[in-house]
């Protein structure tokens, strides 16, 4: 999160430069710039649980009317702090072996490359506020997830005869069965979604932007997290939008 602060400070100073240079920039039909922000992902099952994230990207806007514009963005975002941790305890009672296998699955973060197209509305030329409504396509580029298995096992190889028990042993041990990286098969790589956002002009060429985004597709495919099969990306965002041109 330290880096997010630095980026915000940098973008603040940089954003004040070229954008405040000329009064004509506001009249341009084409505009482009950078955007940075922080995210707070919201758990589907518990809205009070949030996870941090950050995003950065480019945006291009085309003014269609004094009050309307279209904006296209290309954004890379990391959503961390997923509260998904599932421990499965599996007991097996076999004829010669008792097994207690602890399987721990964790998901800590997702990274998306997304593009969104938004319609921007401004009440008046003098108003610092804009309202936007957009659709987006996101591609999952990376995920931080893991799976670990530990087993407690009691195994018996005793030989029984009419008069004795012998020729084998009963042993108990804890075994580390292994770790594995979670494959892409566990996730839907593409996501469609919608967003609503509001910007407030702080100064010329620099806007504060906040919004809500909701993915439409389930993130998980497999049963890695059985209770989160219907989880969809949802987050609040807050950041700066800097106009460079």
């Amino acid at each position: 999160m330290k880096y997010t602060y630095y980026l915000l400070l940098l973008s603040l100073f940089y954003g004040l430069g070229p954008a405040s240079g000329t009064a004509q920039t506001a009249e341009r039909k084409w505009q482009m710039g950078l955007g940075f922000g922080v995210l707070a992902s919201v758990n589907s099952s518990d809205p009070l649980q949030v996870g941090p994230g950050a995003q950065a990207g480019l945006w291009f806007a085309r003014r269609l009317h004094p009050h309307h514009a279209l904006q296209l963005s290309l954004v890379y975002q990391e959503i961390s702090g997923y509260p998904f941790r599932q421990v499965t305890a599996r007991e097996a009672f076999y004829p010669n072996e008792y097994q207690q296998v602890i399987e721990s699955n964790t998901l800590s973060g997702l990274s998306y490359l997304k593009t969104d197209l938004s319609w921007i509305y401004r009440w008046s030329k003098q108003s610092p506020w804009t309202f936007g409504l957009g659709v987006q396509v996101a591609y999952l580029t990376d995920w931080r997830a893991g799976q670990e298995e530990l087993a407690y096992v009691i195994n018996s190889t005793l030989k029984v005869t009419e008069t004795s028990l012998g020729g084998g042993q009963t042993s108990a041990a804890t075994r580390h069965i292994g770790n594995r990286f979670v494959s892409s098969d566990e996730f839907h790589r593409f996501d469609l979604g919608g967003q609503v956002h509001v910007t407030y002009r702080l100064t010329k060429g620099l806007r504060l932007r906040t919004g809500v985004c909701q993915g439409l597709r389930e993130v998980l495919v497999g049963d890695l997290f059985a209770d989160h099969q219907d989880y969809r990306v949802r987050y609040l965002s807050l950041g700066l939008q800097i106009r460079l041109h």
Binding site: F84, V87, F93, P95, E97
Partner: protein, 237 residues
């Protein structure tokens, strides 16, 4: 307005930095379907009562049960002896057993899958008692305790009545986690039905300390409409 937005920004940032952890715990069980059930009537009881012993229901970490079967040389020749061990029981670990004899199969090696298929083929019937063609069923009585030191058996009776019939045979295998180089045990689940009599063991009357060759009783425990599923290991690979 700017102050308000600044506060909102900080609030969002702070909340984002402290995600709450959530732990999902799921428990699954895989039980081997080994059991014996039926109706039982002790020598002093007026009516039959239902009973069932599951051979894989103990869930304490240090108390587990296991099912063993081995070929060995017995008093009456080559024998296949099965025992279920329940480590939660006091002073005796086996609560159920089966024993078969063969006049033709060897005792110095495991019987082959083909030999076992023929020996436990569907429809084969074993009379209660000891020796080739017979079956000795051992049961820890009284059920639920207080337990006797030894298991009760048909051969404690002078002329035990009853028989066991093989009803079905199905493949069964499981993965071993402590098997080392032999991670799989494979074999058959044998389903059998039996009814008959066993002699009730009485440790106070046992001068010979449980030796089945010497202990005799006329106290009969009746078993009726019993069903048994046991595991016959063919090998490990």
């Amino acid at each position: 307005m700017k102050t308000y937005l600044h506060c909102l920004f900080l609030l969002l940032l702070c909340s984002a930095c402290h995600p709450t952890d959530e732990l999902e715990l799921l428990v699954e069980q895989d039980l081997t379907p080994l059991f014996v059930s039926g109706q039982i009537k002790g020598p002093d009881e007026a009516a039959f009562s239902d009973f069932r012993i599951d051979f894989s229901t103990i869930d304490a970490l240090t108390q587990t049960s296991s099912w063993h079967g081995n070929v060995s040389e017995g008093e009456l020749g080559s024998t296949y002896l099965f025992r279920h061990f329940d480590t939660s029981l006091p002073f005796i670990s086996s609560d159920f057993g089966l024993q078969f004899w063969s006049a033709t199969l060897p005792s110095d090696r495991d019987w082959t899958p083909e030999e076992l298929d023929a020996f436990f083929s569907i429809g084969t019937q074993f009379d209660f008692g000891q020796g080739p063609g017979k079956v000795e069923i051992s049961l820890h009585l009284p059920l639920g305790g207080p337990y006797q030191r030894e298991l009760s058996r048909p051969s404690f009776l002078a002329d035990p009545q009853g028989s066991l019939e093989i009803v079905s045979v199905s493949d069964y295998e499981y993965q071993l986690l402590l098997g080392g180089a032999v991670p799989r045990s494979f074999g058959k689940l044998i389903q059998a039905r039996f009814s008959g009599q066993i002699g009730l063991y009485d440790q106070e009357a046992d001068y010979w300390d449980g030796d089945p060759n010497f202990f005799q009783t006329d106290e009969v425990v009746e078993l009726r409409d019993c069903e048994l599923v046991f595991y016959l290991e063919y090998g490990r690979d």
